[in-house]
């Protein structure tokens, strides 16, 4: 029998970002004993990096805003591929989730009348993003972290033990989910510090592990983003959807090379920044697609007037959804109109006074000064696309966040459907709160329905998980995981990147098959104690599975939509809108992709759109009579 520490919980939440923390708060408030497990220290999850804001139609900055408008914007942003029920719940519940944060102690920036201030962002019709300067994610995560602490303080008052009902297991990585028959029975992992194994015996597991960006070379994502949750879910028998849709954020840093990919927040454009090519031209006016013509300005004059008078002017094209802007930048650079380091110019220095820039965009000012020796109040930034967000994820029930596996839930970036083919900026932070809470509720309901039938841990499965985790130590003379990781990132970047072609994706798939062989023969040096080489070796398996999903689904979808652009199928095709590509794991570990019909949108939601707009996305038969 494997030597390990064992813990019993009602709910185990994997991930301590916004989604995981909100889920844990809910589960604990529903009276369930809850553990939170995360790979880094408490309070460091990826959510901390979010800058621009959290979208919620509170209507503080423009009283015309409401959930219906937010819903429409979200569906347009995702090119109507979104799970409409998720988009509906999200738009309806986001304001309550943001207000609730104030009761936990959050301090958002204010409007003159003392309410939460809201800012403009790409694809949102009104100023909608609650924010704190450009460090909104930090505020969100710290607020939730402090709420967790306050619940622990309540438990301390009641029991004398802070951790009686809610405990954080930080720097602990889950490597396998365990099942009893069809249902989840627990999770297996290791402490990063000691390398020792840990077992959670729990009938409900909530995945909140975030995204997959570390499979790409140029990315705004941190080392945590190795797609663990996506892969864990698949190994447990759950399905993923929309994996072909990867968001390349249009503005990542391009220079110096060591910071290539680090994000430049969209707030720069929301607050007036403009994009120019090497000829000094504001090129975005040339890239407004037909579906968006009605909402976007065609002259610089109108675009500039919009910042002051949004009701009577159309929006600047710099604020088109991210997929459009990223493709436009890509085309400008390809056409030879890029900057010296292969990006385009993003300029706010000629648009706002220096003091205003420092006040509104303090971390961007700091980031460029410290990392690139660029003073953004005096000169333009150089920016280019960077892999940022995965729209695809675990297929879930919108209301309860349950996957197809009983006892397995998913929320946040690891869940799929909400954002369709392209996420709007600011819609992730709100997604974390809305569906984090729903996952906590869903898990609590599931537990209540179980009664005395608690699934059991199989010792044989535990032994197998332990053997699998130790496998990289067994071999000698194999390759170093860092080398394989770099090659994997390069392949995904070059072959399944922002613009895709069938031959390249086929090439990617054959390379992935080759990596699979190499990963099986990897060697790690040293001991189990805090050994990053070993950690990477284990994460690589997950990255490989996820990359295979992305490449296979992308090859299958023969159209261009949102975060999936095919050079060989440049148009959007209404027939494809009705279809989801579902990824499952085969017994041999390879990925299987199948088509599945989307559920048609409810009539009252369809009625929120003009017929002319629906015609751009839906097939004849789907249109309302």
């Amino acid at each position: 029998m494997t030597e390990l520490e064992r813990h019993q919980y009602d709910v185990v939440v994997i991930g301590a970002g916004g989604a995981g923390l909100r889920a844990a708060i809910e589960a604990r408030e529903q009276g369930k004993r809850t553990a939170i497990v995360c790979k880094s220290l408490f309070g460091k999850a990826h959510t901390v990096m979010a800058e621009g804001g959290c979208a919620a139609a509170m209507g503080n900055a423009n009283s015309n805003d409401n959930w219906q408008v937010h819903y429409r914007d979200t569906m347009r942003g995702g090119k109507f591929l979104n799970n409409w029920r998720m988009a509906e719940l999200h738009a309806q519940e986001a304001p309550d989730r943001v207000w609730e944060l104030e009761t936990y102690g959050a301090l958002f920036d204010r409007t003159p009348d003392g309410r939460i201030s809201q800012r403009n962002f790409g694809g949102h019709s009104y100023p909608r993003l609650a924010h704190v300067g450009d460090r909104t994610g930090l505020e969100l995560i710290r607020t939730l972290q402090q709420k967790i602490v306050s619940l622990q303080q309540e438990d301390f008052q009641a029991t004398g033990d802070y951790e009686a009902n809610l405990k954080v297991y930080a720097e602990c990585t889950i490597t396998e989910l365990l099942k009893d028959g069809d249902a989840i029975s627990g999770a297996f992992g290791y402490w990063r510090e000691s390398g020792r194994f840990i077992l959670f015996d729990a009938p409900a597991v909530i995945l909140a592990t975030g995204g997959v960006g570390k499979s790409f070379k140029v990315t705004s994502n941190s080392w945590e983003y190795t797609g663990d949750g996506h892969a864990l879910a698949m190994r447990a028998g759950a399905t993923l959807i929309n994996m072909e849709f990867i968001q390349f954020h249009p503005t990542g840093m391009v220079w110096p090379p060591s910071v290539k990919g680090i994000l430049v927040t969209e707030s720069v454009r929301g607050d007036g920044g403009v994009l120019r090519n090497s000829e000094g031209k504001r090129f975005m006016f040339d890239y407004v697609p037909d579906v968006f013509r009605a909402q976007y300005a065609d002259t610089e004059e109108e675009a500039d007037r919009w910042y002051k008078d949004a009701d009577n002017n159309r929006r600047p094209p710099e604020l088109l959804p991210r997929d459009e802007v990223a493709r436009a930048i890509n085309s400008e650079v390809k056409a030879g109109r890029g900057t010296p380091h292969g990006g385009v110019f993003l300029d706010v220095s000629t648009r706002l006074p220096a003091e205003e820039i420092k006040r509104r965009l303090p971390s961007m000012h700091h980031q460029f000064k410290e990392l690139a020796d660029v003073d953004i109040t005096a000169e333009p930034m150089e920016v280019g696309p960077t892999c940022h967000y995965v729209m695809g994820g675990v297929e879930v029930d919108p209301d309860t966040a349950s996957s197809v596996v009983p006892g397995l839930f998913a929320a946040g970036e690891v869940a799929g459907g909400m954002h369709g083919s392209n996420r709007l900026g600011g819609n992730s932070l709100s997604d974390l709160l809305v569906f984090g809470r729903r996952a906590g509720m869903g898990a609590a309901m599931y537990l209540d329905s179980l009664g005395a039938n608690r699934p059991k841990i199989s010792e044989a499965d535990v032994d197998a998980a332990a053997a699998e985790a130790l496998a990289p130590f067994e071999l000698e003379g194999g390759e170093n995981p860092y080398t394989i990781h770099q090659e994997l990132q390069q392949s995904m970047n070059d072959l399944v990147g922002i613009i895709r072609k069938a031959e390249e994706m086929e090439q990617a798939l054959s390379r992935l098959a080759e990596f699979r062989g190499r990963i099986a023969k990897m060697t790690v040096e040293g001991h189990r104690q805090f050994n990053p080489g070993w950690h990477l070796a284990l994460d690589l398996r997950n990255m490989l599975t996820v990359s295979e999903c992305v490449a296979k689904a992308a090859l299958e979808r023969e159209e261009s939509r949102g975060g999936h652009t095919r050079d060989d199928f440049p148009g959007m095709d209404a027939e494809w809108r009705k279809l989801l590509l579902v990824c499952r794991l085969n017994a041999d570990g390879s990925v299987d992709v199948t088509k599945k019909d989307q559920i048609p949108m409810r009539d009252d939601l369809l009625e929120l759109f003009e017929l002319d707009e629906l015609k751009k996305y839906l097939t004849e038969e789907e249109l309302p009579a």
């Binding site: 901390v48 102690g105 301090l107 009348d113 941190s222 995981p481 770099q486 050994n531």
Partner: protein
């Protein structure tokens, strides 16, 4: 622009360890963390280091570089001469786990001892009204990325294990100030700051402020005002002493 940099990195664990020398490639625009990663990828795959965002936002990569508490991801290599030896050691105030990784649980323990935000009883969610000028004071403190460099540098605990019990450190004294200055927090925090969190230990040397990567004016804007708020209630000899020390310096 590429050159061979000389690095001296502390390797070891709770049992002990020493500085080890490395020669490693350095390229234009890189930061110390890039070079540490190159060491991992090419020479020492098991070199332990914490990091996440590589953009100065998460506060994971704290260490001491040539003796100064810093974020490795925000410390640019062009601040050193090419032939200069760059020495990287773990934060000294916290017990070493391995190599550059320390046990920072002290901070989480202290965080838990600060009573949480106490919402006003008469306001429902959505009814909070606060002016920007009034939230700005606490917002400055909420920029904190919990890198714990201020905790590392504060002399009250840096070489004084015995003070850790009764002193929460600048980060968490600032947290108390943040809540005290929150326009809608309903709790009284001043007495506890002094009696339970050791505000009196702080003799306003400002070392914490100097190392804060977020440039938060910890001492001037949080600790001193907090001391004044406490002193308004009770005569505090350390404020007096602190002022004297400052005047002498």
């Amino acid at each position: 622009m590429t050159y061979k940099g000389k690095f001296r990195v502390w390797r070891g664990d709770a049992e002990g360890g020493d500085l080890q020398d490395y020669e490693v490639e350095v390229n234009e625009g890189e930061v110390v963390l890039d070079v540490i990663h190159r060491l991992q990828a090419t020479q020492t795959p098991d070199l332990a280091v914490r990091w996440n965002c590589k953009a100065g936002k998460c506060g994971s990569c704290s260490a001491e570089i040539n003796g100064k508490p810093k974020l490795m991801c925000m410390c640019r290599m062009n601040t050193f001469a090419e032939d200069e030896v760059v020495t990287v050691t773990p934060m000294r105030t916290f017990p070493v786990l391995r190599d550059l990784v320390t046990d920072v649980s002290f901070n989480y323990t202290k965080a838990r001892e600060v009573p949480a935000f106490t919402p006003p009883a008469d306001l429902k969610p959505g009814e909070y009204r606060m002016q920007q000028v009034d939230v700005e004071r606490s917002q400055e403190f909420r920029k904190c990325i919990e890198c714990f460099l201020c905790q590392d540098t504060c002399h009250v605990i840096r070489d004084h294990e015995e003070n850790k019990e009764s002193f929460s450190g600048p980060r968490f004294l600032m947290r108390i100030a943040e809540l005290d200055m929150h326009p809608l927090d309903a709790a009284d925090r001043q007495k506890a700051a002094q009696e339970e969190h050791g505000l009196g230990f702080c003799n306003i040397t400002k070392c914490c402020t100097e190392v804060c990567p977020e440039h938060i004016k910890i001492t001037d804007n949080a600790l001193i005002p907090m001391k004044e708020r406490v002193a308004d209630r009770k005569y505090d000899p350390i404020v007096w002493l602190g002022n004297k020390i400052r005047r002498r310096a």
